[in-house]
Symmetry: C2
Subunit: 90 residues, 2 copies
């Protein structure tokens, strides 16, 4: 059975996430990786996916790309933030 791992994109440099994904794909049991991001990190998630696919794991393709809106509870009440989930399959 193939496992699926998830990478949450935050404030680290882009290449840290790319390296984490490439490392996981080198594990024979991992065929699908979900890259998730919210708000301004969405642009970085797309960079990570494109760099991984074009430069390091050329056999990978996008299984699905989903956009959504999440409600975050903050100090000043709830606020909406956009999110992306990119499923990369080897």
């Amino acid at each position: 059975m193939s496992e699926e791992n998830t990478i949450f994109v935050g404030k680290k440099p882009t290449m840290n996430y790319v390296l984490a994904i490439v490392t996981q794909f080198n594990n024979a049991d991992i065929n699908r990786i979900a890259i998730k991001a919210r708000g301004k990190a969405i642009s970085k998630a797309v960079d990570i996916a494109e760099i991984t696919k074009n430069k390091f794991v050329q056999s990978a393709h996008y299984e699905s790309i989903k956009l959504d809106t999440e409600v975050l509870e903050g100090e000043n009440g709830p606020s909406n933030v956009s999110s992306i989930e990119i499923i990369l399959q080897k």
Copy 2:
């Protein structure tokens, strides 16, 4: 025949683009709108698509979401930039 219009997301406020899309969807001949963005504007493009779909044009859905990498010729030579194309269909 249905027309397709394209919105290029740049530095204007998010709601300017939402308003432009809602206005175009109110034109009976326009059923599909492509929202395109590059680099850091990708996050804003997702915000625009989600706000339009959730708050203003509830009948709309995502026909396709594509990620790509474009090569820009700059003063310091070519550089790669990620891009997104979100097709919103009424």
